[in-house]
C-alpha cells in the first residue's frame, strides 16, 4: 500500500475518534483545525510508519495539542462564559430527539469541565473513545493500575457531582 493510501485509510479510521476526544477535552466543538493539526503532526513526526499502536499514539498527540490549545487560549484570556455560548450554536430548528441528545451530551461535557485533568484524561479516553485500559496507559504513559484506579475514582466523582449522570456506564 502506498503512503497516500495508507494515510487515507488511517485518517478515515481514526478521524472521528480524534474529533470526539478533542470536543470533550476542550469542551467545545470548534476543533476541526486541531484535528487536522494532529494528523499533520503525526505524519511529520516520522513515526507514522513505525508506530505499533497508532490509536494510542494519535491520542497522545491529540492530548498534547489540546493542552497547547488550552495554554494559548489562556494567554488570549477569553471570557469563559462567552466562549461556551459561542461554541454551542443555537439549537433552534432541531428535532426534539436531537435536542434531548444534545442536552445530555452537553451535561456530560459541562461536568467534564469541572473534573480535574487526570480524571478527564481517563474518562474521555474510556467513555468517549472506548479505549482499553492498556491503550489508555500507553497513550498517557501511565501504569495500567494507575489508569484503573483513576478511572474508578473519576466515575465516583462524576456521580457525586452530577446526580443526572448516575447512569454513566462503568465498563
Amino acid at each position: 500500500m502506498d503512503r497516500e493510501n495508507q494515510i487515507e485509510q488511517w485518517f478515515y479510521l481514526y478521524v472521528d475518534d480524534v474529533y470526539n476526544f478533542l470536543i470533550y477535552y476542550l469542551g467545545h466543538r470548534d476543533v476541526e483545525d486541531i484535528v487536522q493539526e494532529v494528523f499533520i503532526k503525526v505524519l511529520h513526526s516520522d513515526q507514522f510508519e513505525s508506530v505499533n499502536t497508532p490509536k494510542s499514539y494519535l491520542f497522545k498527540v491529540a492530548r498534547n495539542k489540546a493542552i497547547d490549545h488550552i495554554r494559548k487560549s489562556k494567554r488570549v484570556q477569553f471570557d469563559s462564559d462567552d466562549e461556551i455560548k459561542q461554541e454551542f450554536p443555537s439549537n433552534e430548528g432541531l428535532p426534539e430527539s436531537l435536542l434531548l441528545a444534545e442536552e445530555k451530551q452537553n451535561v456530560f461535557l459541562e461536568h467534564m469541565k469541572q473534573l480535574k485533568k487526570s480524571y478527564k484524561d481517563v474518562l474521555i479516553l474510556r467513555l468517549v473513545n472506548e479505549l482499553s485500559f492498556e491503550e489508555i496507559a500507553d497513550a498517557l504513559h501511565w501504569k495500567e493500575s494507575k489508569v484503573k484506579t483513576t478511572y474508578y475514582r473519576a466515575i465516583k466523582k462524576l456521580r457525586e457531582q452530577s446526580p443526572e449522570l448516575k447512569e454513566v456506564e462503568v465498563r
Binding site: 472521528d16 474529533y19 470533550y24 484503573k148 449522570l165
Partner: protein
C-alpha cells in the same frame, strides 16, 4: 463479581461526527502537507556540485585542510584512547551508587514439590540517563552470603532490566536454595550484593556494585517483638491495593471495611460471620486474618484473604435476602 455485574444502564456520551465533505477537505490538506514536507526533506540533501564548484572546493581543501586535519587526527587519537579506557561496566558500577539501588530480601518461599526454598526479592534502580549504559551487554546477578554459605541468582541481562526509554528499573530476583543453604543462611546475618559483569564465565572477579546487610529470620523475629508488627491498618491498605491492582475489582471504591468486631452482634450479618469464621479456620499459620468489605447497604461485598506466600484471595460475596444467607459467588486469586 465481574465488572459487567456493576454495569448500569447504558448512557454513554454520544459521539459527534465530522461531515464527509469536511473530512475530504481535511484529508486533502493533510496529504498536501505531507507531500510538501517530504519534498523539503529531499531538498535538504546537499546540492550536486558543478564542475567549477568541485574544482574550487578541491583547491580550498588543499590550501586549508592540512592544519585542520592534523588537529582532527590528534582529537581522534585522544578519542581512541578514551575508547580503549572506557569500560561500560565500570561506568555502570560508578553510576550505581548505594543510594540509587535498593535491594531487599522480601521473602523466603518453601517449594514443597522441590523440597527446597528460594529467596525472592526486589531490586530497584535509578541511574542518570545514559544510552551507553542502557545499550551495553552487561548482566546482573544477586548474591546472598554469610560466613556459612553463598548462593547466586541467574543472570538478568541489562536489556531486560532497563528499557530503552527509562533510566530506572525494578526487577524481581530469585535465588534457589537447597535445604542446607537455607539453614545456613538463617544462622547468621546475610549480605545481599548486586554484581554486574559482561561475562559470567568462571569465578566472580569483581566486587559487588552495591550490597546490603540483612538480618536473619531469628533477629527479625526479635525486632518484630520489640517494635510490634506492621501497623494492621497499613498492612490492610497495602493488601487491598494489591488486590485491586491484580483483579480489576475497585474494592475501596465499592465497599467499606468492616472490622469483624463491628458486625459480630448484628443479626442480619450473623451468617456472614459464620462464613468469615469458616474461611479463617482454613487458614495456615502465617496467613493474615481475612478482611470483610461490604457496600453501604450491607448486601454485597467481599472477604479478602492474604496468604503467607503473598497470594491474595478475593472471595466475592452474595446475599440471599429472602433467607438472609451469605455465600461466596466467586473467588479471584491474585499472585504478584
Amino acid at each position: 463479581m465481574k465488572k459487567e455485574d456493576y454495569t448500569e444502564n447504558e448512557m454513554k456520551p454520544k459521539g459527534y461526527k465530522l461531515n464527509e465533505a469536511r473530512k475530504k477537505e481535511m484529508l486533502s490538506n493533510i496529504q498536501q502537507s505531507d507531500k510538501r514536507k517530504r519534498q523539503k526533506k529531499k531538498r535538504a540533501f546537499p546540492l550536486k556540485p558543478t564542475l567549477g564548484l568541485g574544482v574550487a572546493a578541491l583547491i580550498l581543501f588543499i590550501l586549508f585542510a592540512n592544519p585542520i586535519l592534523s588537529s582532527l587526527r590528534q582529537d581522534t587519537e585522544a578519542g581512541l584512547t578514551n575508547q580503549i579506557n572506557f569500560d561500560p561496566d565500570q561506568t555502570l558500577v560508578k553510576l550505581l551508587d548505594k543510594e540509587s539501588i535498593q535491594v531487599d530480601l522480601l521473602n523466603e518461599v518453601f517449594e514443597p514439590h522441590k523440597n527446597a526454598k528460594r529467596v525472592t526479592g526486589l531490586v530497584s534502580f535509578s541511574i542518570p540517563h545514559s544510552s551507553q549504559v542502557i545499550g551495553n551487554k552487561s548482566s546482573f546477578r544477586i548474591r546472598v552470603w554469610n560466613d556459612h554459605t553463598s548462593a547466586m541468582s541467574k543472570d538478568y541481562p541489562s536489556e531486560n532490566v532497563f528499557s530503552k526509554d527509562t533510566n530506572s528499573s525494578l526487577f524481581a530476583f530469585e535465588i534457589p536454595l537447597t535445604k542446607e543453604e537455607a539453614l545456613n543462611l538463617k544462622k547468621q546475618n546475610v549480605t545481599l550484593g548486586l554484581y554486574i559483569s559482561p561475562d559470567w564465565d568462571g569465578e566472580l572477579k569483581n566486587n559487588p556494585a552495591t550490597y546490603k546487610e540483612l538480618k536473619t529470620d531469628i533477629e527479625l523475629e526479635t525486632i518484630r517483638k520489640e517494635l510490634g508488627d506492621v501497623p494492621p491498618a497499613i498492612q490492610r491498605v497495602e493488601i487491598v491495593q494489591r488486590a485491586e491492582d491484580g483483579s480489576d475489582i475497585p474494592i475501596d471504591l465499592l465497599y467499606d471495611y468492616y472490622p469483624i468486631d463491628s458486625i459480630k452482634d448484628k443479626n442480619q450479618l450473623e451468617d456472614l460471620v459464620d462464613l468469615y469464621t469458616s474461611i479463617k479456620q482454613k487458614q495456615d499459620e502465617g496467613d493474615i486474618t481475612p478482611y470483610i468489605y461490604l457496600n453501604k447497604f450491607q448486601n454485597e461485598g467481599c472477604i479478602i484473604e492474604a496468604k503467607k506466600n503473598f497470594e491474595i484471595l478475593i472471595h466475592e460475596l452474595e446475599f440471599d435476602s429472602q433467607n438472609s444467607d451469605w455465600s461466596i459467588s466467586d473467588t479471584t486469586s491474585v499472585l504478584q
